[in-house]
């Protein structure tokens, strides 16, 4: 059932088979899978991965089966699909996770069997039988430890070679010493063999390692998915024909067409056409700017009203957009690196455990003169100090936290960001696109309803943001459009039409013949000489006011950093009750403002969406961006909020505080257990089976405590 080109493996010279990837976020059920695969299979072999909400199509002839055609076919069937950049899209293959899972399974199998044998020993097997059971345990334990515990050995070896101590050093030492001691005990027909404890230790530690890996892999895949969204393509004009090509294939001097409503893919100079540009990603300024032949434009700006033809002056890495990325890299490098709680715990734990074990061993040796007893006690101390609860304490909480946040529409790109977020003392916000939607809303002071009726008729078909907002406002107020005929859009100027036998125009002040006002406005001329101005302001995002209030309730000072004018910024800050506003900032200024705050010991959270925020996002201790932000901003931040509602930010901070509290509790549980158990072990009162059981009990306690995260806030 595979198409011929794939079977023969001999593709036509000019069109090689290609694998196309799509993200299909709406797929939920068996019916969707069948429908999507059926539609997509018209173009080639199609397969859906429902877990990743991903569709891959192996296309035999890429020239006829383009991503655009597949997307429109799926759209006709009711499924929104987004093409992913095949080079960037995560393929769902996870060899490291698979490897860990296998080691985990082997460790689990061996632990269960050796535990069974231990129960037999413990319930009173005598000399010969005990030796037999010990030897069988050894035969299971030694190869298992060699295979399953290899990740710990290699990490510990790496750390020791680099002259450091990490969590894996005491773990590897405990496992090795336990197995070595037990082998020796077995060979001399001794009573105490710790094979079960060594295996249980390996098993629990691998669970922690696997959970940790899953959280990281999911975060990485989320980040890669965001990066692969919106394949950058451009429409190149060659001899009057338009072809769609990847941006990487463009050369300087090529002519590129950008339709109204599209994002400009390259830096260039306008050669033909007139339109208005949304430059907010570069400047943070929300008001549209008019553009005509000769105007320089930059990648990332949005063409609003009319088609434009550009001559490419820079593309890819040379664009202003990409040069910003270098600034981001510098900011990232100077970021304050916080040590995670796990690192701090390990720094205390590793030397502490070694000293305790050494003291116990030497003490017993001096007291009894028997090296075998001394080593036995030292091993018991190393095992009983319960590194497995410590190894599970963080990953279990992080897995639970990221599952809870994923459900709330929040992608966590870096688990450690949650710990940093809990320490935040100052919140810095961008204005346009973050606090506001970046879309203007009409002001209602002295608006003439008749004028609005005419303006709404003229705005109906336009893509211009002011026109769309005006139409929405009229609709919401129940104003019916006036019967305007002969409507023509004049790109770069506005819209004209005929109403009551006279010409009416809505658009720029000069074209309409009105006196311009200071605000963001669109103008209407109707009848003879009469003109009206409709003024606009940027609308607040849902939940913005609640978020600012909630932040203030938590005692966090809030600052706005914006590239917009001081007047506009103050007006908005006043509505939200924020006093600290810094306006007319360049991207460097924003990053410097953050750096200055951090220098004074403040821990900053930056929330922003635009290119002009990117450096600041990278510089701040923690950063959040909305999914509507530019990909560079999403890439620079630790956490991405998928929905439009800003209250999710409060939810994330709440989850961060919960997670940190759970981690601390887990460390407390582990320490309390150690304080009880270590003196017993040092005094020589802990037989191997009790050691293994106690260790398991504390691991289960820690996991259950982490699971409390899943319940959400009460």
């Amino acid at each position: 059932m595979v198409s011929d080109a794939v079977l023969t493996g001999a593709p036509p010279a000019e069109a090689e088979p290609a694998r196309l990837s799509f993200s299909v976020p709406g797929m939920r059920c068996a019916g969707c899978v069948a429908a999507v695969e059926r539609e997509a299979s018209r173009f080639g072999a199609a397969r859906v991965n429902l877990t990743l909400k991903r569709l891959t199509v192996d296309v035999a002839r890429p020239d006829s089966a383009t991503p655009d055609r597949i997307v429109s076919t799926l759209a006709a069937a009711g499924h929104r699909a987004v093409p992913l950049d095949a080079d960037l899209a995560p393929d769902g293959d996870d060899p490291v996770g698979r490897d860990l899972l296998l080691r985990l399974a082997v460790a689990g199998f061996a632990t269960m069997n050796v535990m069974l044998l231990s129960v037999a020993v413990w319930s009173g097997a005598d000399a010969v039988t005990r030796d037999l059971l010990h030897w069988i345990s050894a035969a299971i334990a030694v190869p298992t430890v060699a295979f399953a515990a290899r990740p710990f050995f290699s990490h510990a070896l790496g750390a020791v070679r680099a002259g450091r101590l990490n969590m894996d050093v005491p773990l590897a030492l405990a496992i090795l010493l336990a197995v070595g001691m037990s082998l020796y005990e077995t060979s001399v027909s001794g009573q105490h063999a710790y094979f079960d404890a060594a295996l249980a230790l390996t098993f629990f530690l691998l669970i922690g390692r696997y959970l940790d890996h899953r959280t990281r892999a999911r975060a990485r895949s989320a980040a890669a998915e965001l990066a692969a969204l919106e394949v950058p393509r451009a429409e190149r004009v060659v001899d009057g024909r338009v072809e769609r090509v990847p941006v990487a294939d463009l050369a300087i001097g090529d002519l590129v067409r950008v339709c109204a409503g599209e994002r400009i893919p390259v830096d260039g100079t306008i050669r033909a056409g007139a339109s208005e540009l949304d430059r907010s990603l570069m400047t943070g300024e929300s008001a549209p700017v008019s553009a005509g032949p000769g105007t320089d434009v930059h990648a990332g700006e949005v063409n609003l009203t009319g088609p434009l033809e550009l001559e490419v002056t820079a593309r890819g890495p040379d664009t202003v957009l990409r040069r910003m990325a270098e600034m981001v890299a510098t900011a990232e490098a100077s970021r304050t690196r916080a040590t995670t709680l796990a690192d701090r715990a390990a720094a205390l734990y590793a030397p502490g455990v070694h000293i305790l074990a050494a003291v116990a061993g030497i003490g017993w040796w001096l007291a009894t003169g028997d090296l075998r007893i001394a080593l036995n006690i030292a091993t018991a101390v190393l095992i009983i100090t319960c590194p497995c609860a410590l190894g599970l304490a963080v990953p279990a909480v992080m897995t639970a936290a990221s599952a809870r946040l994923f459900g709330a529409g929040v992608l966590l790109k870096d688990g450690a960001a949650l710990e940093r977020l809990a320490d935040v003392t100052h919140v810095v916000l961008d204005k346009t696109g973050t606090l506001t939607l970046g879309a203007p809303e009409m002001r209602w002071d002295d608006v003439d309803r008749d004028a609005l009726a005419v303006a709404a008729a003229l705005a109906a078909g336009s893509r211009h943001p002011l026109a769309r907002s005006l139409a929405t406002a009229a609709d919401a107020a129940g104003v019916e459009s006036a019967p305007v005929t002969d409507i023509v859009e004049v790109p770069g100027h506005g819209i004209r039409g005929t109403w009551r036998d006279g010409e009416v125009r809505r658009g720029r002040a000069a074209w309409v013949g009105a006196d311009p006002v200071d605000d963001t406005a669109t103008y209407l001329s109707w009848g003879t000489g009469a003109s009206t101005a409709f003024t606009f302001e940027d609308r607040l995002r849902d939940g913005a006011a609640e978020m600012v209030a909630a932040l203030r309730d938590r005692g966090l000072p809030v600052t706005i950093l914006t590239g917009d004018t001081a007047v506009a910024a103050r007006a908005l800050a006043g509505r939200l009750g924020i006093d600290d506003v810094r306006a007319e900032l360049l991207p460097e200024d924003k990053a410097q403002a953050i750096a200055a705050l951090e220098q004074d010991g403040t821990v900053t959270l930056m929330i922003g969406d635009g290119l002009n925020d990117t450096a600041a996002l990278a510089r701040a201790t923690v950063s959040i961006s909305p999914a509507s932000g530019l990909d560079a901003a999403r890439a620079a931040s630790d956490i991405v909020v998928m929905g439009a509602d800003l209250r999710a930010v409060v939810e994330v901070i709440g989850a961060a505080e919960d997670a940190t509290a759970r981690i601390r509790e887990n460390f407390t549980i582990a320490s309390a257990y150690n304080v009880l158990a270590v003196p017993l072990a040092m005094a020589g009162y802990v037989p191997p089976l009790i050691a293994a059981l106690a260790m398991s009990a504390s691991s289960i306690m820690v996991s259950l405590n982490a699971a409390r995260m899943l319940r959400g806030r009460s």
Binding site: V2, V33, S41, L50, T51, L101, V106, F109
Partner: protein
């Protein structure tokens, strides 16, 4: 106690069978798309098992 000589190998063998089954399942991609496999089992047009990596291609008509 000689019964141990029989019972221990038996229990080990049973465990090993479980381990082998799990290893096979991991190697056969059964853990790659658990949700998708759960959905595909309901698809009448397809008699795929979870480890079936075949893609759907256009029917001949």
């Amino acid at each position: 106690m000689t019964v141990l000589l029989l019972l221990i190998p038996v229990s080990l063998c049973l465990g090993a069978v479980g381990l082998a089954a799990f290893t096979y399942a991991v190697r056969a991609n059964q853990f790659d798309d658990p949700e998708g496999n759960a959905a595909r089992i309901l698809d009448p047009e397809r008699e795929a098992r979870p480890d079936d990596q075949s893609s759907r291609t256009a029917s001949p008509d």
